[in-house]
């Protein structure tokens, strides 16, 4: 089962603003791009053409792993606003 199929079982209320804001200047020089590895929701991917980190914040499970793992400690990481984000029905 693909990660997208897994994520399709999760209930989200998307915001129009991203609560995850990496500093792309730092990402440019980041060796590991480890946010793209550890994230359990595959939120981050590196776009090599645009030299930019793509952030699918709508899929975020709000675990906090990327904030802690980030090689450059450069993710401005907030909780989504109170009415937004993930709602686990099982948990």
């Amino acid at each position: 089962m693909s990660i997208d199929d897994k994520l399709s079982t999760v209930k989200y209320t998307s915001d129009i603003y991203s609560h995850l804001n990496p500093d792309n200047d730092k990402c440019l020089n980041c060796q590991s791009k480890c946010c793209t590895i550890v994230c359990p929701a595959n939120v981050y991917s590196w776009d090599d053409d645009k030299k930019k980190l793509t952030v699918n914040y709508e899929n975020c499970l709000e675990c906090g792993a990327c904030r802690i793992a980030c090689e450059k400690k450069c993710i401005k990481w907030e909780y989504p606003r109170g009415t937004k984000g993930v709602t686990f029905r099982q948990g």
């Binding site: 089962m1 675990c63 029905r89």
Partner: protein, 434 residues
Amino acid sequence: MNSENKVDVIVVGGGPAGIAAAVTLARADKKVVLIERGKFSGSKNVFGGAVYTQPIKEVFPDFEASAPLERRNVKHKYSILSEEDSTTVCYENKKSVQYGSYTVIRAKFDRWMAEQAKKEGVYLVEETVVKELLLENSKVVGVRTELEDYYSNIVILADGVNSLLAKSINLREDIKPKDVALSVKEVIKIGKDKINDRFNLNDDEGCVYEIFGGPMLGILGLGFLYTNKDSISIGLGVALNELVEKNIKPYELLDKLKAHPTIAPLIKDGELVEYSAHLIPEGGYKKLPKLYSDGVLVVGDAAMLVNNLHWEGTNLAMISGKLAAETAVQALDLCDYSANILSQYQKKLENSFVLKDLKTYKNLMDVMHDRKYSFLEYYLKKVNAFFEMFVSVDSIPKRKKYIDFIKSVFTDRKITELFKDGLSGIKLLWSIFK
């Protein structure tokens, strides 16, 4: 200061720690606001998992009568998986386990606890994120939410493992990847009858299943499986630094665990109901943050109070919440909210199982990080190799097989490794029993 918005205590975070703190305060006739960022308590929370009867009773004595419980656990299984084979131990007591546990669904159970707290006078504010703490002369005097400011004499931080708030006032350092485990989990619907057949259970009896090795051989990680009423919760937790260093995606690891020949039949033909993820604090005693300061107390995961070897967290959360609230009641009665008075909370924790247990295991994670290849790969495989040898009928004399097996322990690896393992083992045992 807006006196309308001033209460005795603000509790941030409506998980087990925050709810236990809030309801304890309400019972002592204190004005308490409990602020939760999710749509309802539990809607942001993920665990294995099982909640433990005795500690819950300390806060909700009659919970068994009305709480949403899945199954009463009568069976505890432990498996060591190698790539293909496995060895399993199972403890079973169907009659009575006096201090037992129940599996629960957090979205239901936390919500139930919060409702109870509300009935007992807690003012519950949901769908509200506390953005920062309000300080006056470096004393915590309230919180700022997205919409308004709330003031109180004491703030209890029960905002979970990420506790951005404890960090904001320097009660803790930023967490290191090695001090948390990232956990991914799937709830898989199987049906009550099939679960009872596959796990050899009756009615609402449940099984707790801990899994070592498999796709996590040589990695600091642990798998778990719990039976719910008609679904199974399966997941694993892996030290975050391991995922980074070994370049592993957490959900791919879980897929491998689910495909292991020992596990696959248990979840066969199941339907994925929900995928989720959460961090677990793993730093233990050595990484405890500062637990109090002027006007503020830290409880539960926010204080890193988890006993990871035993999958205990909700109990440490609830008892720490209760002890913090009892300290707050004393402080309120004395009208003194200084660190000096609030330091009683730490004393109470030290006298309880909470800090005693964390102290007992204070060296465990260091040893595991240090010797993970030995303890989480080599010996696990060796256990399975022993049983493979033991059950193989191959016309080789048994005595020779035993001697070869024992020899292999000395020749598989450099002898110094064996020596180091022995030393680590002794050190660990010494730190547990001294």
